[in-house]
Symmetry: D2
Subunit: 463 residues, 4 copies
Amino acid sequence: MIFDKFHEECGIAGVFGDKDAANLVYLSLYALQHRGQEGAGIACSDRHIIRVEKGLGLVADIFKKHTLERLPGDIAIGHNRYSTSGESLLKNTQPIVADINLGQVALVHNGNIVNAEKLRDDLVRDGSIFTSTSDSEIVIHLMAKSGKDNLIDAIISSVSKLKGAFSLIFMTKDMLIGLRDPNGFRPLILGKIRSGHVLVSETCALDLIDAEFIREIDPGEMVIIKDDGLQSIRPFENVNPTPCIFEFIYFARPDSRIFGKSVYEVRKSFGMKLAEESPVDADVVIPVPDSGVVATLGYSEYSKISYAMGLIRNHYVGRTFIEPAQSIRHFGVKLKLNAVRSVIEGKRVVVVDDSIVRGTTSRKIVKMLKEAGAKEVHMRISSPPTCYPCFYGIDTPTRSELIASNHTIEEIRKYITADSLAYLSLEGMHECVKPFSFCDACFSGKYPTLHKDGLGINPKSEV
Amino acid sequence: MIFDKFHEECGIAGVFGDKDAANLVYLSLYALQHRGQEGAGIACSDRHIIRVEKGLGLVADIFKKHTLERLPGDIAIGHNRYSTSGESLLKNTQPIVADINLGQVALVHNGNIVNAEKLRDDLVRDGSIFTSTSDSEIVIHLMAKSGKDNLIDAIISSVSKLKGAFSLIFMTKDMLIGLRDPNGFRPLILGKIRSGHVLVSETCALDLIDAEFIREIDPGEMVIIKDDGLQSIRPFENVNPTPCIFEFIYFARPDSRIFGKSVYEVRKSFGMKLAEESPVDADVVIPVPDSGVVATLGYSEYSKISYAMGLIRNHYVGRTFIEPAQSIRHFGVKLKLNAVRSVIEGKRVVVVDDSIVRGTTSRKIVKMLKEAGAKEVHMRISSPPTCYPCFYGIDTPTRSELIASNHTIEEIRKYITADSLAYLSLEGMHECVKPFSFCDACFSGKYPTLHKDGLGINPKSEV
Amino acid sequence: MIFDKFHEECGIAGVFGDKDAANLVYLSLYALQHRGQEGAGIACSDRHIIRVEKGLGLVADIFKKHTLERLPGDIAIGHNRYSTSGESLLKNTQPIVADINLGQVALVHNGNIVNAEKLRDDLVRDGSIFTSTSDSEIVIHLMAKSGKDNLIDAIISSVSKLKGAFSLIFMTKDMLIGLRDPNGFRPLILGKIRSGHVLVSETCALDLIDAEFIREIDPGEMVIIKDDGLQSIRPFENVNPTPCIFEFIYFARPDSRIFGKSVYEVRKSFGMKLAEESPVDADVVIPVPDSGVVATLGYSEYSKISYAMGLIRNHYVGRTFIEPAQSIRHFGVKLKLNAVRSVIEGKRVVVVDDSIVRGTTSRKIVKMLKEAGAKEVHMRISSPPTCYPCFYGIDTPTRSELIASNHTIEEIRKYITADSLAYLSLEGMHECVKPFSFCDACFSGKYPTLHKDGLGINPKSEV
Amino acid sequence: MIFDKFHEECGIAGVFGDKDAANLVYLSLYALQHRGQEGAGIACSDRHIIRVEKGLGLVADIFKKHTLERLPGDIAIGHNRYSTSGESLLKNTQPIVADINLGQVALVHNGNIVNAEKLRDDLVRDGSIFTSTSDSEIVIHLMAKSGKDNLIDAIISSVSKLKGAFSLIFMTKDMLIGLRDPNGFRPLILGKIRSGHVLVSETCALDLIDAEFIREIDPGEMVIIKDDGLQSIRPFENVNPTPCIFEFIYFARPDSRIFGKSVYEVRKSFGMKLAEESPVDADVVIPVPDSGVVATLGYSEYSKISYAMGLIRNHYVGRTFIEPAQSIRHFGVKLKLNAVRSVIEGKRVVVVDDSIVRGTTSRKIVKMLKEAGAKEVHMRISSPPTCYPCFYGIDTPTRSELIASNHTIEEIRKYITADSLAYLSLEGMHECVKPFSFCDACFSGKYPTLHKDGLGINPKSEV
């Protein structure tokens, strides 16, 4: 059986009660484009039927004036899909729209269901047919088989069987429903726009559409938005929330507020704490743009080492590309980054990045800086060593590919040819996000959903 | 609930046991392009997994070298979809591929299931979810819920519940299965290619790929093709076969052989019989090209009236088109046809067409001929008046739009402004296809599947 | 220097004085699509500036509603370009639009200028720059360098230097000018539409746009259409007209009238004369569709051998295509044609085609007919053997590739494996088009423009 | 006559003597993408003919593997075209390739020729025809009419007639020639790659392809690169060089070195000088990203006000976009920028931008910052007020649209609703680029080419 494991860091959005619903979801997806560039889709209800439009590529390339005009109605949901290394399958783009015994229902999903394989096997054994390889189709099947006579109960029954990470938005022809898993791994924000309500992955989407921030959906909370208003229930088991700390480190936009905190401020405090923990005598501190910029500002502020843009990013990167016939040194990195010789030459340079995955890019960056004349290169990482794969929706390689899972920091330093290397400590990181607790499984190997029934995953083995 | 009624006159093909399977299915679909121009798809098994590629448009536009290279394997099925007036939905293109409890299965379907709505309602009530609006998805759901422990039994169980018209080809990762409904409404041909087997809608596809004609699949027959050979079973109820006579009148290619007869010869004999039944004193007999050509040759041969190409067809028609700002007389028809004045001028003209649907095109043709100088225009139709909609897969308008369902022949003649009008008689038509019996419901209103349990349709009402 | 020799069998059209000018030119090009499928372009004047839109492909694919909306104005010209075997270059599509000392001028051209290379060399030596490889750019350069102070004189001066075949339509922001070379190789028709005038390559374009046929432009005639009416002048040398007889044999649409005759009737008389000259005892006569159809009707009428459609053409051919991995017999022909076994089997078959170029297709057709069971296959060609290349705009291969230029008819018969082979005689062909004289250089080697000054070409050598 | 005035800020590149020539030019254009996103083209010589490929859009979208494979050879030139507000015309993309009396020649051009209209009029009067509206076509015509018997002399003759800004790269089938106008308005860099030479607009292109920086081409210098080596001549009049200072302010990439200086360091010194000249008591200084970043770092360093990323840029901007049905406040700016509330709230904010054109964007930014809670917003501009249009290749609006050309700084401050506004002084700016002199016409109105013969332009009037 084919069953691709998709790690879905995605962006999701929903609007209820605004005649520009599809347009507003479109703009929200546009603001959330950083959460997924593989494909996108929008479903919209005109109170009679739900229509859907999907495509591969960027939001602004998929949706044109005429596409959006095919989506009339005042309730809409949408989804940005992350580009995993594997195949880009149109059939796996969301929203999923299906006819079930309780009527038409559509669904978007951000996260990863860890017991998906078992649930799917059970469903198939019981006569369900699967036409995509996406986890999210499971949710609809469980609803269709729940035996419940109303949609809310069917959702509760279905979702109660899921383990893992999921922020979900459902729509029917006259309802919008949002929920977060009990651990609250992925964010989901509630806003107000004109006469209607909005659900989005990050507050930056509210800003773009001029929607007012109301509050975050709580872990384990389900909100039901209908013509007669918004209702909140908490039908799922009560566990200690563990939102994903990697959203702060890398994934979320710095102008967003999630999990009760400003992403910018948390990210900057990571850099300050890193400077406190791992100082270095240097002339200049530079970021690996763009993800390292805010932490570097923190490092600079704490260390008083002057901040510079020693690496310039080419923002036209990311499209298909032809390699030259003969090899160019550090070619892959050069397409994205170039060193500013006047900033680097003769200097002791601290370069700050958010994380190291395989180490190959860091190695190329260090070499590029040395070729630009750096006297010393000190690499600083604004998160702890990434030793474990994520099962909750961040796309990470297997353990064997994660350099920190089987090498000491000194070994990594040698490999990347830096003069020194330091990571933020686990304790230092948690201190920056007090008083809240977070999932740090990719650093610690402690998977929050494991102790409950051991279902689904074994972090010791390769995935 | 959305449930679009798709009338699926389609072309289907399958290959087992040839390493060029996807290529050969591609070529078969190319030869069957006249059966459907809306979209096409091919699924192929490399004995491990089934891959699928689909698209909207013509076969040669959808499938390129690189598309076919993504379909390795020696078992493949494919489908051409007919362009109905409604929306062109990628989600409704076939093959349908699904994971069910008995493994991966793919399906293509030519025909129309008359009890689809009821079956679908039952399935949905029982927890199935539908992600397309195509009838064919029902077949897979019934298989998944059959409780059978092998695929053949699951197919038999599923198909036994279907009423209506269906030639089906299934594939798993190591099997190819073809079947026709007990009435045998739609054709399905078995051929041999090199070491493998082929199933196609019409023999013209065998000709293109140099496959040898073996025989037609019988009504109610199911053939199972595996590595150890071909097995034929007849698991369905035994009824009097009633293939669709409209395949001879219009739908099939004249170089094909189906239902035990040459399409060309049957079509020509319709023209001869028409000349016998409805002679006219005239100078020239011309076809409405291309569908009227062969019957016109028959009319000419019997009547000794000389045959000419008095109407020339523009073969670049069929694409999107811009109307001129100011109206041009008979514009819609002129884009497709133009009269040859030297053939028409001063002549008494017999013009032969295969059928009249709404009458508007015939009216424009008659006027075009008169403007080209015809002294008299006698319209002859090589089939009886089309009074009833088809429920077995030919796309026809509702009764109220069928001009013959509510007008006498004389009224139609007046409307189309012809000097005379005659149709082939029902008896004359059946005489041409002796000794076999055929479905003539669109002319007679006698639907072969109706008397059994009255399910599904009522020919008296509008659809 | 690159200087591709383009043989331009093209379709051209012009409209003056109708606010739908671009639309009407679009429709004219649509009707003339058979004269060129490589690319198309339209230029339109709103009396202030001339705008142009061009593209590669079919007319209906290039021009959409929004494209035509970018072409406001009441004067327009357009061009269909023939697909030569070489590269499809957008830069060579017409209309050519240029700013010259007499203002903006646009040009479309059907034909081939035989002294193009010499003219171009002279111009380049004199400081002209060429940005396309099209002959037609020469015409504009000659105008720019004519030293004349008005456009009409500049055109006369330029065109007087040209040798060869050219029907030309010029436009300025307030004039439309059409002309034919003194020999009149290529057709050009004048029509009337509402308040305006139309120039088109064939009358079938007039039919589509409901324009009234006025008359043909004479060989050596130039018509100037302005707001104050139409003026005709004959500024070029007076020679004996020799229109291209191949337009009747193959190129023009049978529903057109050109060179004073109905294409259909001439083509049919070729078939009758062929039957008279080269009878054969046979059971059936069939055309190679579509180009052989009308001559075959003539052959059938004269010989009393019954006509049938023994070869069916696939009208979806002509697009990009993927060959199967393993060879299929007669594959190239099978994609276009398939034999109807019931028509052919056991019969003595006469098959009529318009011409034989390389002989490879004829050979495949004969084999296909024999495999379909033909007892005998007699090939009849409705024109004389094509022994010489055309320098006047029909795309023909070099002499060495023309099978008739270096083989006897008996050798060709053997090669194509026919039981007999006969061509129409040169005399017989000319008899059918009396009392007019025509260029028959591709059959006789007598090039009408040669005797004058020997410029440009030598039919004895290969081109 | 149509004669669009194109302001061509473009990127150009050329390679001589490397078998990957087209590939290396492609990569150079990729690195220079910021200089033009409208279209791109590459011409390449295989020593026999010059081939060319062009398209509209981004370099990586136009050139694919198969496109580059159509460009064999070891000499190539390429061009990135800037997106002006007007039409995107394929005919105006470069390289221009033409056949002239001295053989095939290709050309790319960065800059703007101020006497283009007069030269063009003269050429047209003298019999030249123009098929594009690009200035650059003039250069080729002047060469073709120069009467010189070798290409170098023809180029010198042609270029000597040009007034204005032009860095040009020519190629023939066996030569590469680069030159800068006597004022040296636009940059042009010479590099070495493996066995060959490279010419590029900025050094960042050398970095990407691993080419070694040799030196800049001097104002008024012409380098001729052939198989026997590189030759430098200075055939043009000797004037005081005045490179464009706006390249430092905005246009060039900060990691480039042009005009003898690091763009990064000059841009940073503008910010430091601005801080010195126009200090303000504030809590935080933020850039308008990305163009304001480096100057802001300078402002922060001099002023000791802490630097922050208070505005986040959405890097997916720049594509086609659908506006929402109902207006969203500051919508146009919000698509590109969003404020980080935690950075801004309650703070006295200095925001640094590189220039103000119309003032509308600045106004939206100030409002966005105030809505994010800024207590005070002080706008600082790292260049003097832009009062005059540029005639040397930077795309600026007419004087009436330049807010600084008809408003005092205080009026502008009121319009943009800032608490204070200051520009860098003209003197301060020049001090930062000592000891060199630069064109500052857009600030001062002193056009370097004007005093010579008054040709072409009048800065007092609107263009």
